[in-house]
């Protein structure tokens, strides 16, 4: 009552009550009708009613299915229950959002009415609806695809991590059950599994760090070298240096697999054996495979960074260097205080994406040696990184739940990384205003 008094004091307007409008909207559309927007109200009511009638059975069976994951063995397929359950959850989220929006809409319209606002005519009302709805119309198709192609599978994977889906317990033969955090606990308590996980994780981190840093270092060295004004044929040199980026990666990786072949690959036969009199077991000794992988990734990865750096170098004003020359700066000082900061400032966020790219660089690991050589007693090969191990667990060992649990861990690592990256990137600071 106190609030009402205050409002009547402040604005001696109509007695239209926003709270009542919001309360009426618990039945969608009724609040809008109270606001005398009858067309809008009835459209909302019909839409909600249609949704409820059409979807209620699907949603309720979906949710119960998600809880039970099927009752009758060999009849119920738990995977179908799981996916229908997730779809129901997505629909319910949408429904809840629209429901809340409907209440908020009724309330805000009622507030405006209270302040003496006139209900717009039919034509204007439609125009307003078109104006506010237009961005949603634009985003709609993309969002729809995104939900089904990216969000839904990720959620499915997330839920799978808490079930017992494996080779021995696979639908449609058997029913899945919720097992809570068992897969995660197994990963850290079963000795072999923990050993494998730690091996793979540490190699993933070493791989990411080495492959990326070395490509950046090589790119920096070469771009500064080629930028030297005394050098001729710059265009030709830059074109050749960009070549590894231009050729499709999977082709070059397969070529390298053949070149590095232990027995008849050109690298052993033509270079290593004549020089050192012995062959290097590139594909059968894990440490040598790792060395080869890093070398190949540097070959594949440096050209893009090289092109970026070259662009930056050409943009650095020569004034900087002339001033440094006047002060008698050495070459190292010029690099340290002028070139390096310029390069890092201009390309920092891009270099971070190079790290995330290599962290999930499935192609090279899988194509070069299939994550091998195999290691006795573990499901991951000697050079498997997390993403390729997940692939093996899924498609070779059918350890679906375990793979899903590792995926979640991988996702958390990636998301943390992304979070820090975008907190720092300037464009999001600008975005903050909206």
């Amino acid at each position: 009552m106190a609030i009402n008094n205050k409002q009547t004091e402040a604005t001696t307007q109509t007695k239209h009550n926003p709270t009542l409008a919001a309360l009426l909207s618990i039945i969608p559309g009724l609040g809008q009708m109270y606001n005398k927007r009858f067309i809008k109200g009835s459209v909302i009511f019909v839409l909600f009613a249609a949704f409820m009638i059409a979807m209620f059975d699907f949603l309720s069976s979906g949710v119960t299915g998600l809880v039970t994951l099927g009752v009758e063995e060999r009849v119920d397929d738990s995977r179908v229950f799981l996916s229908e359950g997730i779809l129901s959850l997505i629909f319910i989220t949408f429904f809840a959002t629209f429901y809340v929006l409907n209440i908020l809409d009724a309330r805000s319209d009622a507030k405006k009415l209270q302040m003496g606002w006139k209900v717009p005519g039919v034509v204007e009302g439609f125009r307003n609806a078109w104006d506010t709805g237009f961005p949603y119309l634009l985003v709609g198709p993309g969002l729809f695809l995104l939900i089904f192609v990216v969000l839904f599978p990720l959620l499915f994977m997330g839920f799978l991590a808490f079930t017992n889906y494996s080779l021995y317990n696979a639908p449609p033969r058997a029913l899945l059950e919720w097992v809570g955090f068992k897969n995660f606990i197994d990963l850290f308590t079963i000795t072999e599994l923990r050993g494998t996980f730690l091996n793979v994780l540490s190699w993933t981190l070493i791989w990411t760090f080495m492959a990326t840093t070395l490509s950046i270092a090589l790119a920096m060295f070469l771009s500064i070298l080629v930028n030297d004004p005394r050098l001729k044929f710059k265009r030709l040199i830059r074109t050749v240096f960009i070549l590894p980026w231009a050729v499709p990666g999977f082709v070059t990786i397969i070529i390298f697999t053949a070149l590095f072949n232990d027995n008849f690959g050109a690298i052993n036969a033509d270079i290593i054996q004549p020089l050192f009199g012995t062959a290097i077991p590139w594909l059968t000794e894990a440490n040598w495979t790792k060395v080869a992988l890093i070398m190949i990734q540097v070959w594949l990865g440096f050209p893009f960074v090289f092109a970026l750096f070259t662009g930056v170098l050409q943009g650095i004003s020569s004034d900087w260097y002339e001033a440094a020359d006047m002060d008698g700066a050495t070459r190292w000082q010029k690099f340290k205080f002028i070139t390096f900061p310029h390069l890092m400032f201009a390309t920092g966020p891009l270099l971070i994406t190079q790290f995330t790219f290599n962290f999930n660089n499935f192609n090279i690991i899988y194509l070069f040696n299939g994550g091998g050589p195999p290691v006795r007693g573990q499901s991951a090969g000697g050079t498997d990184i997390l993403i390729s191990w997940i692939y093996n667990l899924t498609f070779t060992n059918s350890q679906y739940s375990l793979a899903a649990a590792i995926s979640i861990i991988l996702g958390i690592i990636v998301a943390t990384f992304a979070f820090f990256q975008f907190r720092r990137s300037s464009s999001f600071k600008e975005e903050g205003q909206y």
Binding site: V80, D131, P135, L138, V139, P141, G142, L143, L145, L146, F148, V149, P153, L154, F156, M157, L160, L225, V226, R230, L231, V240, I242, L243, V247, P248, G249, F250, V251, I254, I255, T257, A258, F264, A266, W299, F304, A307, L308, G311, P349, L350, T356, N360, F362, N363, I387, Y391, T394, F395, A403, L410, V414, A415, A418, F422, S425, S427, E431, Y434
Partner: protein, 285 residues
């Protein structure tokens, strides 16, 4: 003191020699594997034993086999890849430009959450959810079909590309659409007649990436496509070397050269635009 300019000159020459030497070594490291593959593709035998860079009796048998042998699916794969690439490039780019336009020009409820969701989703590799994709396509009957592949490519590319295009739209002055709105242009007219033509460079880059990707990706097709007549080029070629019983590296080399040469040419010619597109995507979003 008189020897000073002289020694600087020798130092200069020496430096240049070292620089050219480094570049020459890099040239060899870069070009050798590529030339070797070219040599392989012209090698009439099918295995790698005793293969040398320049084959003694070179021939085009592998190229011929790819195009004329009734057991070769090469042309079908080419057609499949073109279908996938063209659909992803056209539909995908259009969808992305819609999304990017909304995020760039409209301030609507849920916009910030949407942006964050896009950012987060673009970090997760589609590969992470492969089991789910497999099961999803299986339930709706799109497994082993190009349509399923197309849908996943389009959907999976949306977050990253939307940011790329949004970043570009953000740089176009808002006065343009505001003045058009004054003149009574509708939402669609502003979009199609004013902003879209201005955003051509970035749309071309996105379309090109979308077009190229199916030529180079083998892993998603490998999960989705089962029958050889539905393969894309990358998957088909991969199976040439992956198949344990008919491992045929030289045939792979011939098929690979045929797609690597056009792709590399496009990349080299358009490198400036592609690299600026890629860097814009990462810095702007």
């Amino acid at each position: 003191m008189a020897s000073q300019p002289m020694s600087r000159k020798t130092k200069n020459t020496l430096e240049l020699v070292v620089m050219y030497a480094v570049i020459a070594v890099m040239f060899v490291i870069i070009i050798y594997p590529l030339l070797w593959a070219l040599g392989m593709s012209l090698n009439p035998s099918s295995n790698l034993y005793g293969a040398s860079l320049i084959p003694e009796n070179w021939s085009f048998v592998h190229y011929e086999w790819l195009f004329t042998n009734p057991r070769s699916n090469y042309l079908t794969w080419y057609k499949n890849t073109l279908i996938v690439s063209l659909s992803v490039a056209s539909v995908g780019t259009l969808l992305v430009s819609f999304t990017a336009y909304a995020f760039s020009r409209y301030r609507f409820k849920g916009r910030t959450y949407g942006l964050y969701a896009f950012l987060l989703l673009q970090m997760f590799p589609v590969l992470m959810a492969m089991v789910a994709l497999y099961i999803l396509l299986n339930t709706i009957g799109l497994l082993d079909s190009l349509l399923g592949l197309i849908i996943i490519y389009i959907g999976g590319n949306i977050p990253m590309n939307a940011f790329l295009v949004k970043g570009y739209f953000d740089t176009l002055p808002k006065e343009l659409d505001e003045s058009a709105k004054m003149d009574g242009a509708g939402h669609f007219r502003i979009f199609f007649q004013i902003l879209l033509p201005l955003a051509k460079p970035i749309l071309a880059v996105v379309a090109l990436f979308n077009f190229m990707n199916p030529f180079m990706d083998f892993i998603l097709p490998r999960i989705i496509l089962r029958s050889p007549e539905n393969y894309t080029l990358a998957l088909g070629l991969f199976n040439f070397v992956n198949d344990q019983f008919s491992n045929n590296f030289t045939r792979f080399a011939a098929g690979a050269i045929l797609i690597a040469v056009p792709i590399a040419t496009v990349y080299l010619f358009l490198q400036k635009y592609l690299i600026s597109g890629l860097s814009a995507g990462a810095t702007k979003g």
